[in-house]
């Protein structure tokens, strides 16, 4: 944890000192920034999952938590922009990395057997990442944009009990559920490499790292699987129109 805090401090310092260009200029700093933003998103994902899980367990809890998240000033005014910044940063940085890395081998191999020495997940973070990004687009279209319109454009009065029904309704279409499931599989692959690898990136490699890696791998499977379960569950348990 101390290392994480130190790293965070470092990133912040870099922000002050050299702005974003400073981070982009050093490969290790880029790597650390990627890892830290990734870890932040992993944390967010867990939180999101816990709230979603209540939709299966108890619709009332789901409604009340969703209401809180949707109306609390701190969440909406501070955490939400941070999250959006985190996503955008992780994406832009990932894209820059990918471009730089492609550039580092101008002439490609005629024969390249990546599969003999590294996992598919680790070699194709850009693919899994882009799928997740596309999914985020869909997800925003499904929830965030209607929510914004609902709240700020059309200015409906807040109804603290509307969330559950709206959510369940979204999972009526089997196509949408299918898209969600595929995205979660790719998310799992993204996490399978990304989560554990972020420890290596911030230099965390000691007697605890084995256990931590195991935790990360389990997390990478369990959380997306849980999201799939929720999506399928809600699809199968539609409310009467």
């Amino acid at each position: 944890m101390a290392i994480l805090l130190l790293s965070l401090k470092f990133v912040l310092q870099n922000f002050e000192k050299k702005t974003i260009m400073g981070i982009i200029s050093s490969s290790i700093a880029r790597k650390v920034a990627m890892a830290l933003s990734g870890l932040f998103l992993v944390f967010f994902l867990g939180q999101h999952f816990v709230i979603n899980l209540t939709s299966v367990l108890d619709p009332d809890t789901f409604n009340s938590w969703s209401h809180f998240m949707g109306t609390n000033g701190l969440v909406q005014g501070l955490l939400q922009p941070i999250l959006i910044f985190g996503v955008v940063f992780h994406f832009i940085m990932g894209f820059i990395l990918e471009l730089k890395n492609r550039n580092a081998r101008a002439i490609k191999y005629a024969s390249y057997k990546g599969s003999t020495n590294a996992s598919w997940a680790s070699r194709n973070m850009i693919i899994s990442g882009l799928v997740v990004l596309a999914f985020l687009g869909l997800h925003f279209y499904d929830f965030w944009i209607p929510e914004m319109i609902h709240k700020y454009v059309e200015s409906h009065p807040e109804d603290a009990t509307r969330y559950y029904a709206e959510t369940v309704h979204k999972f009526e279409s089997p196509v949408r559920v299918g898209l969600y499931v595929i995205s979660f599989v790719l998310l799992a692959l993204h996490l399978w490499h990304g989560f554990a690898s972020s420890f290596q990136s911030v230099g965390f490699n000691n007697k605890y790292s084995k256990g931590l890696t195991k935790f990360a791998k389990i997390y990478a499977i369990v959380i997306p699987l849980g999201f799939i379960f929720i999506a399928v569950y809600l699809h199968l348990n539609q409310l009467p129109h």
Binding site: S26, N103, A104, G114, N117, G203
Partner: protein, 248 residues
């Protein structure tokens, strides 16, 4: 055995290269991969063609000269060996073998399969040393005891032969394993600790300047490294770099 070789031919650094096909017969399992290429070259010379140029020297897996990408892997399909230690018994009669140079923007091709790995030298020059003069008056070698485990770990990092297989294997052509091995060797020893801060900053800066890609922790370098240099060194370098940046 009979083989078909597909080899990258390129006249010089500025020329455009291409793959050429060469059939070869009479290859024996006891030959090393480079001895098989010797046979091919002897045939080419006798036919009046130019032999294939490749780097090689000690032919016992320690100088780090040989550097071939064989069927998509640096130093070929065997593990913990360099190309010169790879033997033809790892291949079968009738096989097609694709032979390419180690590819990275930071390793420009000189001719055919020979590349310029000067970038590695420059990374070392940026700080891969302890600043101590040859006076004959340094302290006695046993004046500072070093924990055996640390000494062994430093040695393991120091066994890197600088062949560049890590760069060649990495999908990003990253030189992190190479650089971190040297940083680690010194970071682990009391003699190297003194300059640890400036060393890691300077070496990483030079590494970036050379145009290597970024590490994305795929681990391919460790698998393909003929000396089995560990990924732990990269984690150590990241740590060293972070704490050096905070200090600096």
């Amino acid at each position: 055995m009979k083989l078909t070789l597909k080899i990258w031919r390129q006249e010089n650094a500025s020329a455009k290269g291409n793959m050429q096909t060469y059939p070869i017969d009479g290859v024996e399992g006891d030959m090393s991969f480079l001895e098989m290429l010797d046979v091919l070259n002897e045939q080419l010379i006798n036919k009046g063609e130019e032999p294939v140029v490749f780097d090689h020297d000690c032919r016992e897996g320690i100088c780090g000269s040989c550097s071939l990408q064989i069927n998509g892997e640096p130093h070929g399909p065997d593990r913990l060996v360099t190309t010169c230690q790879l033997h033809m018994r790892k291949f079968n009669d009738g096989d097609t073998i694709v032979i390419e140079p180690f590819r990275a923007k930071a390793f420009p091709v000189i001719k055919d399969l020979m590349v310029d790995r000067g970038a590695f030298d420059r990374i070392q020059q940026a700080g891969g040393y302890v600043s101590v003069n040859t006076s004959g008056n340094t302290i006695d070698a046993n004046a500072i005891p070093v924990e055996k485990e640390l000494a062994d770990e430093a040695f393991n990092a120091a066994t890197c032969i600088g062949c560049g297989a890590c760069v060649a294997a990495c999908k990003n052509a990253s030189a992190m394993l190479f650089t971190s091995a040297k940083v680690s060797q010194y970071a682990l020893l009391p003699q190297g600790r003194v300059e640890a801060t400036t060393r890691v900053l300077n070496m990483v800066e030079q590494m970036d300047k050379e145009g290597f890609g970024n590490c994305t922790n795929t681990g391919a370098c460790e698998v393909e490294c003929p000396k089995g240099i560990s990924l732990e060194n990269i984690a150590r370098m990241n740590r060293e770099y972070l704490s050096a940046s905070l200090k600096g």
